[in-house]
């Protein structure tokens, strides 16, 4: 793996102060795929993300680790527009997520704008969230047909390819309720990929699975990481998986990135005491 994938990066904010910003990949601002600027998210009096800054360049695989409640999942949910930030801006592929320009002014984003930006992202959930009233095939084809305007035949053809990839081609007419958790999660991954996202958000995708089903799902994700150009943001407690696929591991604590770097360094010789404590607790 290239050594420069995770590097400390210094830029200046509007006030001209230098600040350390977690950065994954290299390139100019124009190349950035995901950028968080001073993003703060609170639930009531609880600050889950505290003025968070980070950026990710295309094709990188980032794993977010940290104790529960440290805001990892919140980052994915903000990106997927399931939540709105209280402060700060999130930019995806150069376009702000929560605001749009209208008549030269920056205004809160309308549904149309949000949907345009959302096209870049796909998400796989902890609880799969397959649609129980649709067959496996329909789960995968519904959005490409309705959102991307694909023909039913084309969508079905692509869905079958994806099902083949996740090893469930023969289950296309089954309803999700008749599948095991591991199978459901593989369908959910195929469903997310069918939308051809640039970024795949993986939210603790194996946490709800029985232990013996975890390996199959992780192997599938390893394949996808290896063989596609897709950018991944991954919240997981599977540290060996994180080590395998990641270009960068970010350690979160109390709403901030307290340390980040290449997995070899993060798992081998972390600098922060908190990171060391956390890793010794989960490894």
């Amino acid at each position: 793996m290239p050594a420069d994938t995770a590097n400390a990066y210094t830029d200046t904010d509007a006030g001209g102060r230098a600040q350390g910003r977690a950065t994954v990949g290299t390139g100019t601002t124009a190349d950035e795929l995901i950028r968080f600027d001073r993003v703060t998210k609170r639930f009531g009096s609880n600050t889950v993300l505290d003025s968070l800054d980070f950026r990710v360049f295309p094709k990188k695989h980032v794993t977010l680790i940290g104790p529960s409640g440290s805001g990892k999942t919140t980052i994915l949910r903000l990106l997927m527009t399931l939540l709105k930030p209280d402060e700060g801006t999130i930019t995806v592929d150069g376009t702000p997520l929560s605001h749009e320009e209208r008549n030269g002014k920056l205004v809160p984003a309308g549904e149309k704008h949000v949907r345009e930006v959302r096209k870049n992202m796909g998400m796989v959930f902890q609880q799969f969230n397959l649609f129980p009233h649709m067959s496996v095939l329909r789960n995968i084809t519904e959005a490409p047909v309705q959102v991307l305007g694909m023909s039913r035949d084309e969508a079905a053809e692509r869905a079958l390819e994806l099902l083949d990839m996740v090893g469930l081609k023969d289950r296309s007419d089954t309803y999700p309720g008749r599948l095991s958790g591991g199978q459901q999660q593989r369908v959910a991954i195929a469903r997310a990929l069918a939308m051809r996202p640039k970024v795949l958000l993986l939210d603790e995708v194996t946490s709800a699975l029985d232990p013996e089903l975890v390996a199959g799902v992780l192997d599938l994700l390893r394949d996808i990481a290896r063989t596609t150009d897709i950018t991944m943001l991954c919240v997981t407690h599977e540290m060996s998986f994180a080590r395998d696929i990641s270009d960068c591991v970010m350690m979160f604590d109390e709403g901030k990135v307290i340390e980040f770097g290449h997995p070899e360094k993060m798992f081998g010789d972390p600098e922060q005491e908190r990171t060391r404590e956390f890793l010794s607790a989960v490894l």
């Binding site: 527009t81 549904e111 796909g122 397959l130 129980p132 999700p176 997310a192």
Partner: protein, 251 residues
């Protein structure tokens, strides 16, 4: 003292027809009102939720008979023209049972897991499609049993129109009573007719529910075989507490 003659039977038969029409038309209006109001009560805009909530509280708090009186006798004086009695009845029944139905819709839609909405967002489906293709197909089978209870209540409610002079089944009974001078036969007969209609509607809704559940990927429901004791009971039992509760089907 005399028998119910063929002519009198015909009056009753016409009454059945009017009762069925009333039930069907009011149910259609009530369903429309229930969906619009029920979904409005879940709207993200506070003002929409509030307006729908006021509608629900007012019409649920109203007595159907008094609403009917009002539409029959007060509204014409205000508007200056008389509503066709049949339509006034449909309006009164549809508006009040629609208010009850909105609670069914609201409860069933709110009970669809959050993750389903979120998956819809993650797949970038527009809000209307999320509702139409993901949420409603899952909520619909849950609505049918409480809707059945409301439909029976509505059928019973149609008898009120006889007080307003609409010639439904109950009104026909009064005519036959006057003609024959006997009350027991005719009132027994029409109670039985109402019961048979209610029974048929319940069976129909049961079929509808089975289809809806199969369509929602749940497979055929496991249900006890038909026995006299279970004509209505099994559904009612679960529904009794819920339908009676003002708060909602589930929370």
């Amino acid at each position: 003292m005399s028998e119910i003659t063929p002519g009198l039977w015909e009056i009753l038969l016409d009454g059945v027809w009017i009762t069925l029409q009333l039930t069907f038309l009011s149910a259609a209006l009530a369903a429309a009102v229930a969906f619009v109001t029920g979904l409005a009560r879940l709207n993200r805009l506070r003002i929409v939720r509030f307006a729908a909530g006021v509608y629900f509280e007012v019409f649920r708090g109203t007595s159907a008979l008094i609403l009917m009186f009002w539409l029959f006798f007060v509204l014409p004086l205000g508007l200056g023209w008389q509503l066709e009695p049949m339509w006034a009845a449909v309006l009164a029944l549809g508006l009040s049972y629609g208010a009850y139905g909105s609670e069914v819709v609201r409860g069933a839609v709110a009970a669809v897991p959050r993750g389903q909405h979120e998956a819809g967002v993650a797949l970038n489906l527009p809000p209307g499609q999320r509702l139409w293709r993901i949420v409603l197909p899952q909520a619909w089978p849950e609505m049918i049993p409480p809707f059945n209870n409301l439909l029976i209540e509505l059928l019973k409610g149609t008898a009120l129109v006889s007080v307003m002079g609409v010639s439904d089944l109950a009104f026909g009974a009064a005519l036959v009573r006057n003609a024959t001078g006997q009350s027991a036969p005719v009132y027994t007969v029409i109670l039985l007719v109402y019961f048979v209609i209610a029974f048929a509607m319940t069976r129909g809704m049961r079929v509808l529910e089975r289809r809806a559940r199969a369509g929602a990927g749940e497979g055929p429901p496991r249900r006890a075989a038909l026995s006299p004791r279970r004509l209505f009971a099994p559904r009612r039992r679960a529904a009794a507490a819920a339908a009676a509760s003002s708060g909602g089907e589930r929370r």
